[in-house]
């Protein structure tokens, strides 16, 4: 799936923030998993260099949940208040039971969102989704040029994406495009927005790459310059003025270039719950990189336990886990210390401030990453694409790379 798609832009703006709970267990403080993200498979026909899926995803491609297990998960989450359902992956359409999942989602009263690369979407399937009550299809697009699309995804999918966009429109679906932004397409923002308008897009999400999983491995090759991002934002604002409400454009700002971190997932265990292909239940997409954490699995104790009782979901709720400089920071409620995964991946300490914050003692790591991205030697290193072969290498423990990007404590 693409980056940041699930609600990080929309839900944070529109959903009423849950009561702050200061680390007290969820059953006392009414946190609710409003968002259920079902990462139904890690298999994917695309090999995007910026994918945030875990680099060791290959471990989780053989033990996917069954249709029945997914349907039970949907029911349990709905009882707990989940209302938006994201069906994602990998490429969800590689499973042949998405039709059944969609029907159940409709019955339960979810607003259901299929998040897809478009590969595998046929007339027959889209008709079945429409009949089954799927509410929305979000399509990832990569560039206006065939060359960049095919390069960054490592596949020949450019023509297909245009066909799928038309199919989505013809079936009366809202056209929601997600475009992950990186060095190779940031110079084409205006053309990308024009393409979106020509396709009749209702929503466009310009999601600057965030650096997790495969995109972290390829960070020096993907990161654009600050000036390019500023220019892209300026063009986006101009375009917004022009199109007004007809096409809503979300520009997801990259945190590396900000002074303060993002309030990741709107807070750990506040509104998001992710069930992965193999049934692990996570508070954020990349939480499994964190050390010494045992994440619950739907096959064992179910979703209610996972959300309310599991040590993993309670570990970073609220502010009790914080240390300096966050713990005494007057702004701590604004961002809750940022992203635990980013803190760990870059500093080796999951409880330290997100190094994106200029108050973090580790902020130099971000400055160095930005410098590295300007280093022509690093920037010209070959991109490591998200392929099963490369993932198997990570599973087997490609020490050099693992050490380079997962600073171990």
């Amino acid at each position: 799936m693409t980056q940041t798609s699930l609600g990080e832009s929309v839900v944070q703006k529109e959903i009423h923030a849950q009561e702050k709970n200061n680390g007290v267990a969820a059953n006392i403080t009414h946190t609710q998993p409003l968002w259920l993200l079902a990462e139904v498979t890690y298999r994917c026909p695309l090999h995007c260099a910026f994918c945030y899926n875990p680099t060791d995803y290959d471990k989780h491609t053989q033990n996917e949940l069954t249709t029945e297990q997914w349907i039970n998960a949907l029911r349990d989450a709905r009882k707990m208040g989940a209302i938006q359902l994201g069906i994602s992956g990998g490429e969800p359409l590689l499973r042949d039971d998405i039709e059944d999942i969609v029907i159940e989602a409709k019955k339960l009263g979810y607003y259901s969102n299929l998040i897809t690369s478009g590969v595998g979407l046929t007339e027959k399937r889209i008709q079945a989704f429409k009949d089954g009550g799927l509410d929305h299809i979000q399509l990832s697009m990569h560039d206006i040029t065939e060359e960049i699309n095919n390069f960054i995804t490592n596949t020949k999918t450019f023509e297909l994406k245009k066909k799928v966009a038309a199919m989505i429109k013809n079936h009366g679906y809202p056209m929601v495009l997600n475009v992950v932004i990186h060095r190779y397409n940031i110079g084409h923002i205006k053309e990308i927005l024009e393409m979106a308008e020509a396709l009749g897009a209702d929503y466009v999400e310009l999601a600057n790459t965030q650096y997790y999983g495969w995109s972290l491995v390829n960070r020096s090759q993907l990161m654009p310059l600050k000036e390019q991002i500023d220019e892209a934002e300026r063009i986006t604002n101009e375009f917004r003025q022009k199109v007004g409400n007809k096409m809503k454009i979300f520009f997801v700002v990259p945190d590396y270039f900000g002074d303060r971190p993002k309030k990741c997932m709107n807070g750990w265990g506040e509104v998001f719950m992710i069930v992965t292909a193999n049934g692990d239940v996570l508070p954020c997409h990349s939480a499994r990189v964190l050390p010494n954490m045992a994440f619950p699995n739907v096959r064992d104790n179910g979703l209610e336990y996972a959300w309310k009782e599991s040590p993993a979901f309670n570990k970073y709720r609220g502010t009790d886990w914080m240390k300096g400089p966050c713990v005494t920071c007057p702004e701590k409620m604004n961002d809750l210390g940022g992203c635990r995964c980013q803190a760990f991946l870059l500093t080796g300490d999951a409880e330290s401030a997100d190094p994106v914050c200029s108050l973090s003692p580790n902020h130099h790591l971000i400055e160095k990453a930005i410098e590295d991205s300007k280093n022509p030697v690093l920037a010209s290193k070959p991109i490591i694409f998200r392929t099963d072969k490369n993932s198997k290498k990570y599973v087997a423990g490609d020490k050099e790379r693992v050490e380079e990007f997962h600073a171990l404590p």
């Binding site: 959903i15 209302i83 003025q241 409400n245």
Partner: protein, 102 residues
Amino acid sequence: MENLQLSQTEEFKIEHSDVFAIALHHRFQWEEAQQSYVILFPEGMVKLHGGAGEVIKRVDGKSTVGDIVADLKAAFPEAVNIEADIIGMFEMASGKAWIRKI
């Protein structure tokens, strides 16, 4: 209404004869877990406080704004200046494109 700001850039003049429907790809429903009405749309949700929910509940693609004002006045006779609030809600919902003029 929570966490929402009126669009500053556009004016939406509401007439009593206007008829609105819920916008395409949006869904209005009661959420038991939230104990409130919500509007759902791709990857997002807006929670509507009591009064706002009462207004949008009556948006059905047939009733005019005038009908809805009269209906709400009858349903909540004790409410003061209710009409300005209702029109304000129509302006906001229309500005946010949650409802569309028919």
